[in-house]
Symmetry: C2
Subunit: 390 residues, 2 copies
C-alpha cells in the first residue's frame, strides 16, 4: 500500500427532500451571495430550481443565475460565469445539476480571483491558490464531481478536453443529494452515469500497487452494489432504494473511498476524453465502449488483476486458465453494459469509421508519450485499443 | 435507505514515516499550544513521543504533556487534564495513542471551555457547544476514535462507562497514521483491536433498514479484508501491508463509511461496556465473547441478516435451512476469534461466575428498558445473551 491522504471534508446531506435545506446550508458555510449554475430546462420544468430559489430566499441569501451549461462543458460558459460573478460580487458557486454543471462552477470558482486566463490552470501554466466556495445540489449520479476537487472542461477552439484537480480548494463544501431528483432521468442518461461511476472505480482498481486488500474490497463491493441496483433502476426508474444506492455509489466511486493507497490508472478515461472532444459522444457511453477494449488488450499484456476482477465482481469460476477467466469477465461486463442500453463499439456509438490516427495523436499530444499506469500505453498500444473498440 | 449525513472532515495522513508531519499539521490547523496526551510507557520506549516532540519543536509549537492514561479511561484523568489545559492555555489536544488516549483527549477538549462538570455531557445533562480542537497520532488500530466524534469514559465512582457523540466538535481535525507504529503491539492487543473494528462494522450491518446494498457491501468488504489480514499479522507482526490494511479498516469501520443510511444496533457494545466497567475486561476481548452470543440469540429471534452475513462474509453455502446457515456463520466467527487468540466465553475471560443480574441491572439502568435496534432487548433477553456467553 502506498502512503496516502484521505481527506473528504464535503458534508453530504442525503435523502428524501434534502434540497429544502439548501439555503440553510449556504448560510452555515458563510456565503452572502451565490451564483446558481444550471444546465438545460429540466431543473426548471421539474420545479427543482424554484425550490432552491425559495430555500435561498427563506435563508436571506442573495443570488444570481447562470443557466445553459451543456454536456461536455465548454470554456466559453466559464468565461461568461467569471464575468458575471465579478460583476455581482458572488462569494459561493451553487451548482444545481450533474457533472457538467459542477465542473463549470468549479472552473468559475477558480477563475474569479485569478488575474489571468482560467485555462492556464488546465494546461498547467498556473496553480490555483484561491477560489470561491463551491456547493452542489446533485441531479445526476455519475461524475462524482460533488465529492471531488476535479473538473473537466473542453476548450471550444481546438477541441481540447482537459482536467484539473485541486482537492484543497475546489471540493464542494456541501452536497445536497435527493435520490428522488433522479427519477426523471432518461434511461440512456441513467445508464451513462452507471458506466461513469463504474469506470471511476475501475481506474483505481486496476493497479500494480500490492497489498491493497481493503482498497480492492471497497472497489469490488461498490461495483457489486452498482450492478445489482442498475438492473432494478432500468426496470423501475422510480424505485427509491435503487436510485439511492446508485446515487451514493457514484459519490464514493470518486471521493477517495475506493482504491486508497493505490497508484491509479486513468488510461481509459483519457482514451475516452479524445472521443468526447472529437466526436462529442456522451462520456459514459464512450467509457462503455473503451473500457472493455482496454481490458481486452490487457489480457495479453498484464492479465493478473483482470482475473481477480472477473472472479470477485462477475462471479467467474476460478481456473488455471487465467486468460479464459479474464475474457469471461470482460464478456460479462459487455453483456451488462448492453443490458442497460449502452454501446460497446464505435459503430454502436454511431461512429462507423473513427479517425484513429487523429484520436491517438490528440491523446498523446495532450497526455504525453505514455498514458496510464497499469500498463503505460504507447501510441501503438493506444491505437490497438481504439481498434479493439471498432 | 434512511436519510443520512456523511461528514468525515478529518484529514487522514497515512503511511510510513507520517508522524514527522505532526508539527506541520498542528500549525496548519492553527494551534499555538497543544497538550500531548499519552498512555503508558510504550510511546516513550519506542521513541514515538520524542519524535512527536521534535516535530512540534521544529514547527515552533509550544506544548505540555499529560501521560498515564489507562485502558478503559477514567474521569479522574479527564479532570486532571482540564485543569492543566486551563492553566497552560492550551488550544489543541494532541492524542498520541489508541482509543483510550483519544477519548480522554476528546473529553478534556469538551470540558475545558465548559463551566460545569464535564460528566454532564455523558449523562445528557448538558450539550457540548464549544471544544478545543483534537488531533491524533494513532498507535492502535481498534477504536476508530481517530475518525469519529465519539468518546467513552468510565466514572470511577460507581463504575459507570458512558459514551458521548459530538461529530461536529469532537472529531479530530487530522489523524497521523503510520502502520509501522503498530509493529510492536502485543498479539493480544492486536487481536482485541481486530475484534473491536469488526464489532463496529457489525453493529451497523445488523439493521432492519431495507435497500442498503451499498452499506452492506462496504461492511462485508471491510470484514473480508480484516479477516484476511488478521491471519497474516498474527504470524508476521512486522508485515507492513497487513498492518496497513488493518489500520485503515479500523478507521473506516467507524467514520461513517460502513453502513450508510442504516439504523444501527449497538446492543453488543452496550452489553460489553458493562463487562468492562464491572470486570475491567479489555473492550475487544469482551466483544469477542458477547458478539457471538448476541448472534446466537438472534438465530431464534431474527435470523435474516445473520444468514446473509454467514454467506457473504464467511462463505457458508446457501441453503433453505436458514438457521443452519446462520449457526455455521457464527461457528466460523468463533473459530476465527479463537485462531487469533481471543476468548469466546466468560470462562475464557477468566470470569467463572459472572454476576449476570448485576450486569443486566446496570445495563438497563444506564441504557433504558430496551437496548439495541435489530431486536430491542428486554432485561430477560439481555440475561439470556449473557448466559449464552458463559
Amino acid at each position: 500500500m502506498n502512503n496516502f491522504i484521505f481527506y473528504s471534508p464535503t458534508e453530504f446531506v442525503f435523502g428524501r427532500g434534502a434540497e429544502v435545506q439548501t439555503g440553510t446550508l449556504v448560510k452555515k458555510y458563510g456565503a452572502h451571495k451565490v451564483m446558481v449554475v444550471y444546465g438545460g430546462g429540466s431543473v426548471v420544468r421539474n420545479g427543482l430550481l424554484a425550490c432552491v430559489e425559495k430555500s435561498l430566499q427563506e435563508a436571506g441569501i442573495a443570488y444570481c443565475m447562470l443557466g445553459g451549461v451543456q454536456p461536455n462543458p465548454v470554456d466559453t460558459k466559464v468565461y461568461e460565469g467569471i464575468e458575471l460573478c465579478r460583476k455581482e460580487q458572488v462569494d459561493m458557486m451553487l451548482a444545481v445539476g450533474g457533472g457538467s454543471v459542477i465542473d463549470t462552477a468549479k472552473a468559475i470558482a477558480a477563475g474569479v480571483p485569478y488575474d489571468g486566463d482560467f485555462w492556464d490552470f488546465y494546461i498547467g501554466k498556473s496553480t490555483v491558490t484561491e477560489a470561491l466556495k463551491v456547493a452542489v445540489v446533485l441531479t445526476i449520479p455519475a461524475a462524482g464531481s460533488e465529492g471531488s476537487g476535479n473538473t473537466v472542461i473542453t476548450k471550444v477552439a481546438g477541441l481540447q478536453k482537459l482536467s484539473l484537480r485541486v482537492p484543497g480548494l475546489l471540493r464542494p463544501v456541501f452536497a445536497v443529494m435527493n435520490p428522488e431528483l433522479t427519477y426523471t432521468l432518461p434511461p440512456f442518461q441513467t445508464a451513462c452515469g452507471i458506466a461513469d461511476m463504474m469506470a471511476h472505480i475501475m481506474e483505481r482498481y486496476f493497479t500494480n500497487t500490492q497489498e491493497v486488500e481493503i482498497g480492492d474490497r471497497l472497489c469490488e463491493g461498490t461495483l457489486l452494489a452498482i450492478i445489482k441496483e442498475a438492473a432494478t433502476v432500468m426496470k423501475e426508474p422510480q424505485n427509491y432504494g435503487a436510485r439511492a444506492n446508485l446515487m451514493w455509489c457514484g459519490t464514493i466511486a470518486h471521493n477517495g473511498t475506493c482504491g486508497v493507497g493505490c497508484e491509479e490508472d486513468w488510461a481509459s478515461h483519457f482514451l475516452e476524453h479524445e472521443m468526447s472532444a472529437i466526436y462529442n459522444v456522451t462520456h459514459g457511453a464512450g467509457l462503455s465502449v473503451i473500457f472493455p477494449a482496454w481490458m481486452t488488450w490487457m489480457v495479453d499484456h498484464h492479465v493478473d488483476k483482470i482475473v481477480q476482477y472477473a472472479i470477485r465482481v462477475w462471479g467467474v469460476p476460478e481456473s488455471e486458465d487465467k486468460k479464459s477467466v479474464a475474457f469471461e469477465g470482460i464478456s460479462r461486463l459487455k453483456a451488462f453494459f448492453k443490458s442497460i442500453g449502452l454501446p460497446i463499439t464505435f459503430a454502436e456509438l454511431g461512429i462507423e469509421n473513427p479517425d484513429i490516427d487523429r484520436l491517438v495523436d490528440s491523446l498523446h499530444r495532450n497526455k504525453g508519450e505514455l498514458v496510464g499506469n497499469y500498463v503505460k500505453l504507447t501510441r501503438k498500444d493506444s491505437g490497438e485499443i481504439y481498434r479493439l473498440a471498432l
